[in-house]
């Protein structure tokens, strides 16, 4: 388990999320409470439909809760407008997706540069940041490659470089190894662990893979919208307050 700071970066209180499909109301999260501390690497596991991606989206400011509060880095996400939330995400959250989601018409360098286009950095400063991020993920020699010219593992590394390039408060990863072979998956998990240990990055990772979850310092389970300590009983560790 990594060293963590006492100050929670993420504080989720009595979180409820419902989806509406036609006449049906589908409760996805039911009174969820969660704290994630600075420098923590937390894995969220659970069966399909348990609400883990929904919880991740809410913490990342991509969606709005039906009820309850989410504070990230001291800011109440529920009180922000859409545009303020977009600005907040650009500063505080780095996203890593299962299918990498790189822009196919941009090179690795340009993909990593994308979040920096929203900052006031000049061209040279942006280039410095991008090169540093690509060096961290071990792809300094692939800057001019397009996604189609990279392997799946390399694409995911570029996506990780894009996620860390603006030094966000929080990294969120949704099944980051779900589309990779075992070797590439291991390399990506090594990289995430290194970002957590060497660079102190706070990471929340959704995964189905027990091997991936083992690499995280904290493991929590979601079942039918409720956080549990293990698949059988409610969770009670320091990081999970159900």
């Amino acid at each position: 388990m990594s060293d963590t700071n006492d100050q929670p970066v993420v504080v989720v209180r009595e979180l409820h999320k419902e989806f509406h499909r036609d006449q049906l109301t589908i409760p996805v999260l039911i009174g969820t409470n969660l704290e994630v501390h600075a420098g923590e690497f937390l894995a969220l596991m659970g069966p399909s439909g348990s609400g883990k991606t929904t919880l991740l989206n809410l913490i990342a400011g991509l969606d709005r809760p039906t009820d309850g509060t989410i504070h990230v880095a001291g800011e109440d996400l529920g009180s922000m407008s859409e545009s303020a939330l977009a600005r907040w995400r650009s500063r505080h959250v780095g996203f890593i997706f299962q299918l990498y989601n790189l822009i196919p018409v941009l090179t690795a360098f340009e993909n990593v540069e994308l979040p920096l286009l929203l900052t006031h950095l000049n061209r040279r400063e942006r280039a410095d940041h991008v090169r540093t991020a690509l060096e961290v993920v071990g792809l300094a020699d692939r800057v001019d490659h397009y996604p189609r010219q990279l392997s799946g593992g390399q694409e995911q590394r570029v996506a990780i470089a894009r996620a860390i390039v603006n030094d966000p408060t929080l990294l969120v990863a949704d099944e980051p190894t779900g589309d990779l072979d075992a070797k590439s998956a291991r390399e990506i998990l090594d990289l995430l662990c290194r970002l957590n240990k060497d660079f102190g990055k706070t990471i929340i990772m959704v995964t189905h893979d027990p091997h991936a979850a083992e690499r995280a310092g904290t493991l929590v389970h979601l079942e039918k919208g409720v956080l549990v300590d293990s698949p059988a009983s409610p969770a009670t560790p320091q990081s999970v307050q159900a």
Partner: protein, 384 residues
């Protein structure tokens, strides 16, 4: 500016689709530029004429009515008239008839005072005045016909049943090509007296005169018309601009017809381009969601999508306006009586570019708004 590279990359993303959209706009703008250039060229005469204070006196019954020589003398006596000339259409056929151009019988003494902006060397003008069979031509016409000074110009009568055998003594340079020939109206009179028993002789056809200033022209027009109102030959006196607009009006509703076609072609083209943009947006739903996830605000996504459609439409617009200008020049070269001016008015080209950008905006607005309003979670759900 930071996003331009991304916009251009997206334009090139699906090359075939972009190429087809560009070509569709290219073709449409080429047609519209040519048609509007043609309409503008018809009005160009009037706009140009307005600067020179010229007035046309014609019979109230139209071109077939008589405008007697005596009237010319009387007009010349009116205070404020600088110079006045007869201007009689011959309508002859030159050579094999493939090169049709205007031929006017006029008074060599005063014609270049009425058209003072036309430049002709003094010795050539003198030769025109001194030889009743002499003629002078517009420089472009001379070049087209391969005529040089001293050549014979034989015009076969079509409206009149006799021919004119003229000698080219001068070439004049108007500000804008006219593709016309001036000869001495007295030579026409001689022909009429010799072949038609004098019927039609002594007729000026129309009278063109130059007023001393623009502000007295309305008064001169009404003065002349009032003077001849109760005579055998009542007149219709109007500015050269109004005279030119008569020819435009003769074409009936062709302007409205062209406008009608242009509007519908533009609307259908916009819908086609919008379909392309909508397809492009649908294919990139996840990508747009990712952009929004990493912090791109709705306005920026809107700008990206609209920028893309405007760039595609503008490329088509630039190519279309350029091609339309080319077609215009080609038609002017091949059929100068249809497109009479060689220079296409720049507002026509400017409007072409504005319309192409507007097509881009209109075709991109719905897909762009949909993209801007896309829920990030919904967009990502497609692949998560």
């Amino acid at each position: 500016m930071k996003l331009l590279r991304y916009i251009f990359r997206n334009v090139m993303r699906n090359k075939l689709r972009s190429l087809l959209t560009v070509m569709a706009i290219w073709m449409c703008l080429m047609l519209m530029t040519f048609l509007y250039g043609y309409l503008a060229s018809m009005e160009a005469w009037g706009k140009e004429a307005d600067k020179y204070n010229r007035v046309v006196v014609m019979n109230k019954q139209g071109f077939d009515g008589l405008v007697p020589e005596k009237m010319l003398s009387e007009v010349r006596e009116i205070k404020g008239v600088v110079a006045a000339v007869p201007f009689s259409w011959f309508g002859g056929r030159y050579g094999d008839g493939s090169q049709f151009f205007a031929q006017f019988g006029t008074d060599p003494e005063q014609v270049f005072k009425v058209w003072a902006e036309y430049k002709i060397p003094a010795d050539q003008l003198e030769a025109f005045k001194n030889d009743r069979q002499a003629c002078v031509v517009d420089r472009e016409l001379a070049e087209r016909l391969g005529l040089k000074i001293g050549d014979r110009v034989r015009l076969q009568g079509t409206y009149y049943n006799f021919n004119l055998d003229l000698k080219l003594v001068g070439v004049y340079d108007p500000p804008e090509t006219t593709l016309s020939l001036f000869y001495n109206v007295k030579y026409l009179d001689e022909g009429l007296r010799a072949t038609a028993g004098g019927r039609g002789a002594g007729n000026c056809g129309t009278i063109f005169f130059k007023g001393a200033s623009a502000d007295i022209i309305p008064k001169l027009c009404s003065q002349i018309d009032q003077h001849y109102e109760s005579s055998e030959t009542p007149t219709n006196t109007q500015t050269e601009k109004a005279f030119s607009q008569m020819f435009v009006k003769m074409q009936g509703n062709i302007q409205n017809f062209i406008l009608f076609i242009a509007v519908f072609v533009t609307i259908s083209l916009t819908l086609v381009a919008a379909n392309g943009m909508a397809m492009s947006m649908r294919e990139r739903t996840t990508e747009i969601a990712v952009l929004k996830a990493i912090g791109f605000q709705s306005g920026r996504v809107l700008t990206l999508m609209l920028g893309e459609s405007v760039v595609i439409a503008s490329i088509g617009g630039v190519l279309g306006v350029g091609a339309g200008r080319g077609v215009y020049a080609l038609v002017h070269w091949a059929a100068p009586m249809i497109v009479q001016t060689s220079r296409m008015p720049w507002p026509v080209m400017a409007w072409g570019l504005v319309i192409s950008a507007a097509i881009g905006l209109a075709s991109g607005i719905v897909p762009a708004v949909l993209a801007a309003r896309l829920s990030v979670v919904d967009g990502l759900r497609r692949i998560v």
